[in-house]
Amino acid sequence: MAEPTRTLRTTLSKIQGLGAAHAGTEHFWRQRLTAIANLILIIAFVGILLAAGGRDYATAVAIVSHPAASIVLLLLVISVAIHMRIGMTVVIEDYVHDKGMKLAAVILNTFFAAAVAAAALFAILKLGLGRVV
């Protein structure tokens, strides 16, 4: 009777199939998923900008606060924030070699994406929810 193959890998680790990095293809997949979303949403966003961009204040508010425009903008901000955070993380990992600097840059990158998203979402919600009719 042959000795069964011995391994230090736990059964949980085996079925997860992630290896030593403890991560798989989530970043790759999320970057593609948000890219598809961005592609659709950016086309709508360009339309909103063309309609509202050069107009007077009241008209611009009326366009941006329209439920359809607000929903497009909310989705766009979320998708873009996730996409740009992953993208900049890759850039930082490629060019910042010092461990401490790399960690700081990756943290600041997350903070920047979160701050940009929060400010934009707050403004969109204020306009959309503040709409009278």
């Binding site: 890219a35 063309l50 961009g53 941006v64 740009m84 993208g87 400010a119 403004a123 306009l127």
Partner: protein, 139 residues
């Protein structure tokens, strides 16, 4: 190549070792240039989100702050930045479509690669012109 040297670990002596070439050594190609530009436009758009946030926050804040944004965006410098932003957006978008085509397993042949690279550059320039012609016609 004498300046390309690496230190042998622990040896304390400089030894000439072959290193992989860097950007300054490679001959520039279309596909390589578009790849680099994809990354640069991505970084530019990252900073450019601040412009979008500024516009949205000003719109939510009231007519005063909105008038300031309008004034800056309508200035010559503002216009140039916005046109650059538009081009970066379209270049990154078309570069993304190029990546989708590759992800699906197509477009790796020499001709297809070249056509996709040219499509990214000329397509983004064309889309920028189209959008700004519409924008200025509406204004």
């Amino acid at each position: 190549m004498s300046e390309v040297r690496a230190r042998a670990p622990g040896a304390g002596v400089e030894q000439a070792r072959p290193l992989s070439p860097h950007l300054q050594i490679y001959r520039w190609t279309w596909t390589m240039a578009m790849s680099v530009v994809h990354r640069i436009t991505g970084c530019a758009l990252y900073g450019g989100t601040l412009l979008v946030v500024w516009w949205l926050v000003a719109l939510a804040a009231g007519p005063g702050p909105y008038a300031t944004v309008q004034w800056v965006m309508n200035s010559i410098l503002g216009r140039l930045v916005l046109i650059g932003f538009t081009w970066a957006l379209f270049h990154h978008m078309l570069g993304g479509i190029r990546h989708f085509i590759w992800d699906l397993g197509y477009g790796f042949e020499r001709e297809a690669r070249m056509n996709l690279a040219r499509f990214t550059l000329f397509g983004s320039l064309a889309l920028t012109v189209v959008v700004w012609v519409i924008a200025l016609a509406l204004a």
